[in-house]
């Protein structure tokens, strides 16, 4: 590769593996809190709670996808 960046660096991938778990849980918990806060502000229980939980789950899987396909995409482009 022109950048001199080695693919499949063991330490890099270990760090990323440990990141997968927390990167999936944070958007969901964040979604629950934002949804609950908006609901209590606007008195619309439980619409925003469900909307933000679903958004959080989608974001969680997007994060997973991003981490998992990090090196594959690069291989395709070059």
């Amino acid at each position: 590769m022109p950048t001199g960046r080695r693919k499949g660096n063991v330490l890099e991938n270990l760090a990323l593996i440990s990141y997968i778990g927390i990167s999936m849980i944070i958007p969901i918990i964040g979604g629950v809190y934002i949804g609950r806060w908006l609901d209590s502000r606007l008195n619309t229980q439980p619409i925003f709670l469900f909307v933000f939980i679903v958004t959080g789950v989608i974001v969680a899987f997007m994060n997973l996808f991003k981490v998992a396909t990090k090196d594959i995409e690069k291989g395709k482009r070059k």
Binding site: T3, R5, L11, E12, S23, G30, T55, V59, M62, K66
Partner: protein
């Protein structure tokens, strides 16, 4: 039991906690070490110059290996991050409260990384192209992409904070219970059980967990900055 950082004194209504004091101690130690280590270099390294060169070389090599030759200038930031976090996480061994056991410290550090990610991402790709990246794979995912980016500093900081503060709480509970255990055996005035037994736990919670999470924090900063840049 109270596990939050104690307020030592106040400057004009702003509370100065244990965290801040311990951060100052680390800053002082690192500054003095850098001044001693960085002075009077010779062509043929001897003594402390060897140690300094090993550390700098290792960080430079790791940065180049992980981020690529063109992003070598991040080595200074990553080295600072590594040395500060290493000292901070190992401070528990001296009986002081690690600054990283406060979410303010870890969140500040991960905000720095967050700003670097977006600043250098926009600089390298051009602001227009960079902002267009938020509309991929299709424009409807814009709010999801923004939340996904905002979740990064939160997850990075909460992981370090959670691990260090968890170790801190378990250690202080263990010390408390060992005092109780000693007085049950009739050694209340002289809690002999506090010597030796916590060693194993310090080995795991302070040394292993501390060094591991220092490394992971630095590694994730490197990986995400280089993902944003290329």
């Amino acid at each position: 039991m109270e596990f939050g950082p104690k307020v030592i004194f106040e400057i004009g209504g702003i509370p100065v906690t244990e965290t801040v004091i311990n951060t100052w101690i680390i800053m002082l130690v690192l500054t003095v070490l850098a001044m001693i280590g960085g002075s009077a270099f010779k062509k043929i390294p001897r003594g402390r110059q060897n140690v300094v060169e090993v550390i700098v070389d290792a960080i430079n090599k790791l940065t180049i290996q992980t981020m690529g030759e063109d992003k070598k200038f991040f080595a200074s930031y990553m080295g600072t991050l590594f040395l500060f976090l290493l000292c901070a996480n190992l401070l528990g061994l001296l009986g002081l409260r690690p600054p990283t056991a406060d979410v303010n410290t870890t969140f500040a550090l991960s905000t720095l990384t967050f700003i670097l990610i977006h600043f250098y991402g926009a600089k390298r790709k051009g602001t227009g192209t960079y902002l267009k990246g938020f509309l991929e794979p299709f424009p409807l995912l814009l709010p999801m992409n923004i939340i996904s980016e905002l979740a990064f500093p939160v997850s990075l900081s909460f992981r370090l904070f959670g691990n260090i503060v968890g170790g801190l709480i378990i250690m202080s509970l263990l010390y408390g219970s060992l005092i109780g255990l000693s007085s049950m055996v009739g050694l209340g005035a002289f809690p002999i059980l506090q010597a030796g037994i916590p060693l194993v736990f310090h080995l795991y919670f302070d040394i292993f967990s501390g060094v591991l999470h220092t490394f992971i924090f630095m590694m994730l900063s490197m990986v995400f900055i280089s993902i944003a840049m290329d």
